[in-house]
């Protein structure tokens, strides 16, 4: 079961070519610079854009093909727009009930109470949209999109109209959405920090073409894709807190066979979180170093090298069954004789916990 989309769009100033099959669980981020066609793709899925010749099926149900076009109001979607777009003539509660009242009782899988609690908007219910802050409005907009108990939640840069502080205010709600509701989400974004925190899968768009799509760890570290070549190129690792050390204020987070020592011990044992390792925080040694301040040292295998510029090389490593990126100078690479297949040790200077 999945969401399949294929279309070919030719406009005077813009061409787009899409052939995608997206998983029907977790958060799939559509990532790309502005003007790459992210919103067009999302609007096509919602039926807000009718692209002639397009074909869209969701869990076996045809939403669009050459003979059919199911209107937006008949698709089982929820949509969060870039701006909150609350109905100004209705109170917060009426905004939420607008969607709810149009869904037959047997299809109301998400009780309004649940989304109100999830987004923490109980106190806002009687207010009118124009009296709310931008962050509050967007939280109401998310709850409103959930009010129709969607089978697929579409979010078009829901945080981009907010400043950084409000962003940090809403991100946890999005994460709990992810944890507590089993609705697949398609999340359009051009911000790598949001994507790294939220996404399970990633579709990379550029100028209307899909450069790649797959699990986020893979997309972040594929050297043929642009994300692995950013200044802050990074590796994501899913890990679970196994021990916490009060004496030094550290925690051990385990992923497969690997134990990472991370600063901070606020997270209770058993919590899962994402670890982020920046490529410039990873260095390589031929032998395992002793007498070093680095806590996280793992044996790795060199997989692939690619020159970033005249001075630097991005190296993809195999760490257990996971990829890991390291950015080294060309000089070091030559001096150490690093080539694909070589077994070396990766010293990870810093590990950030995304939670």
């Amino acid at each position: 079961m999945s969401l399949d989309i294929s279309f070919n769009l030719q406009r005077e100033d813009f061409a787009m070519n899409v052939d995608l099959s997206l998983p029907d669980s977790g958060i799939t981020a559509i990532f790309g610079p502005s003007g790459s066609g992210k919103t067009t793709l999302l609007r096509a899925i919602a039926g807000l854009e009718n692209i002639p010749g397009g074909k869209i099926t969701f869990n076996g149900q045809v939403w669009q093909d050459t003979a059919n076009f199911i209107s937006t109001h008949l698709r089982a979607i929820g949509y969060v727009f870039q701006e909150p777009s609350l109905f100004p003539h209705l109170s917060v509660k009426q905004n939420l009930e607008y969607g709810l009242s149009r869904v037959p009782a047997e299809d109301q899988r998400i009780p309004l109470k649940e989304s109100i609690a999830l987004l923490n908007i109980t106190k806002l219910l009687e207010r009118h949209p124009h009296t709310l802050s931008g962050g509050e409005q967007q939280r109401v907009a998310i709850a409103r999109a959930l009010s129709v108990s969607p089978r697929l939640l579409l979010m078009d840069e829901p945080l981009s109209s907010l400043d950084n502080k409000l962003k940090q205010e809403i991100l946890p709600y999005l994460e709990s959405l992810h944890r507590e509701l089993s609705i697949p989400v398609i999340y359009v974004s051009h911000a790598t920090d949001e994507v790294a925190r939220l996404a399970d899968n990633l579709v990379i768009l550029k100028a209307g073409e899909i450069l790649g799509s797959g699990p986020i760890q893979e997309m972040l570290t594929r050297l043929d894709l642009p994300l692995a070549h950013r200044n802050d190129a990074e590796t994501l690792i899913h890990a679970t807190v196994t021990t916490s050390d009060t004496e030094f204020g550290l925690s051990t987070m385990t992923s497969g066979e690997l134990d990472f020592t991370v600063p901070g011990n606020a997270l209770p044992t058993g919590t899962s979180a994402r670890l982020r390792i920046a490529a410039h925080d990873v260095s390589l040694t031929l032998e395992k170093q002793t007498g070093t301040s680095i806590q996280n040292i793992f044996p790795v295998t060199v997989v692939e090298l690619q020159a970033e510029n005249h001075a630097q090389i991005m190296i993809k490593l195999q760490l257990g069954d996971m990829p890991l990126l390291a950015r080294l100078t060309r000089k070091s690479v030559e001096e150490l004789g690093i080539t694909p297949g070589l077994q070396v040790y990766a010293q990870i200077k810093s590990v950030a916990v995304l939670a």
Partner: protein, 222 residues
């Protein structure tokens, strides 16, 4: 004081203004909605036609309506009763004459509602009719108020069109503006004063009520 003929003219005028405004709102709403949403290439032609009564001397409009609706006009040739010099004829004339004053505010209001609220409603399972009645109409409310006030007031004030197609039949087609003109012609200045004063007070009270009831909205939006 106002004599019986004056009162008749006053009530006839109110009846005409109410009828015309009502008809204009009923016909104008779907028309303005279409105008605001269409991407038709030649939309500007329709817009120009709607605006025509704004720039034409009312007598020109009245003249052609007289030809159209008169005893020898194409309407009667098709078997209909002539409408010139009847109240129905006045209503037809007023509707055309006041059309831009109703269509324009409605068009602006629907346009300022924009696509987004309707798209949001569509993602919340609202069908096109549902969206029109629950989102577009309430959000365009200020435009409806402006359209009603302007349509009503403009019909009360018309003179040229009415004179051409309605003539001056007391109780049937003699409206306020013509009654006032009659008084002035016959040098009955006192009567003209009473009638004009009544019209000023009536218009003012109407506007005050509208503005007071809709403090949140600007009635005249330019």
């Amino acid at each position: 004081m106002l004599d019986e003929a004056d009162l008749t003219a006053l009530f006839l005028t109110l009846k005409l203004a109410l009828t015309s405004t009502f008809i204009l709102l009923v016909l104008g709403t779907p028309f303005a909605w279409w105008l605001a949403r269409t991407r038709w290439r030649f939309k500007f032609l329709i817009e120009a036609m709607v605006a025509l009564p704004l720039v034409l001397p009312p007598t020109v409009l009245g003249f052609y309506l007289l030809l159209l609706l008169g005893a020898n006009g194409p309407i009667t040739a098709l078997g209909a009763a002539p409408l010139a010099f009847t109240f129905t004829g006045l209503v037809v004339g007023s509707v055309i004459y006041s059309m831009p004053f109703v269509i324009q505010p409605l068009h602006d209001a629907f346009q300022s509602v924009g696509k987004r609220p309707l798209e949001v409603a569509a993602t919340l399972r609202a069908s096109p009719w549902d969206r029109f009645f629950t989102i577009a109409l309430p959000l365009a409310r200020p435009g409806f108020i402006t359209a009603s006030v302007l349509g009503f007031a403009h019909t009360i004030g018309e003179f040229g069109v009415v004179l051409m197609i309605g003539g001056n039949i007391p109780g049937q087609t003699q409206v306020l503006s013509i009654a006032i003109y009659d008084h002035v012609e016959s040098l009955e200045y006192a009567s003209a004063h009473w009638l004009s004063g009544a019209l000023i007070i009536l218009s003012f009270i109407m506007l005050v009520l509208v503005y007071a009831g809709n403090k949140r909205f600007r009635v005249f939006r330019i």
